[in-house]
Symmetry: C2
Subunit: 65 residues, 2 copies
């Protein structure tokens, strides 16, 4: 699984970067993927805890708190 | 700025979700975009603090700590 680099580079440029190294983009991508996997795992547990097979917005909300 | 939904839905499915609501995908996307913007802003400041115009891997590393 991986997020695409282009929008992540855009986030860094929009934050005010004149130039961005490729490794910097990778580094932010890894961080976001890691967080995404952690939140997703918690959200799946929340859905299961609520007796659902469908992960809903409220599960992700709780998982990000 | 926005991350694409497809890879984010894949993250949630890979975490074990049988089904995922569209709003759940949006919710995780928003959370990752918010974090990305925060980290990017910190990384730009770190690069500036180091006297560089280029955001490097080490700037993002510090910004994610």
């Amino acid at each position: 699984m991986s997020l695409p680099n282009a929008p992540i580079e855009r986030i860094i440029r929009k934050a005010g970067a004149e130039r961005v190294s490729e490794e910097a983009v990778d580094q932010l991508r890894f961080a976001l993927e890691d967080l995404g996997e952690e939140v997703a795992a918690d959200a799946v547990n929340m859905a299961s805890h609520a007796g659902r097979n469908t992960v809903k917005e409220e599960d992700v909300e709780i998982a990000t708190q």
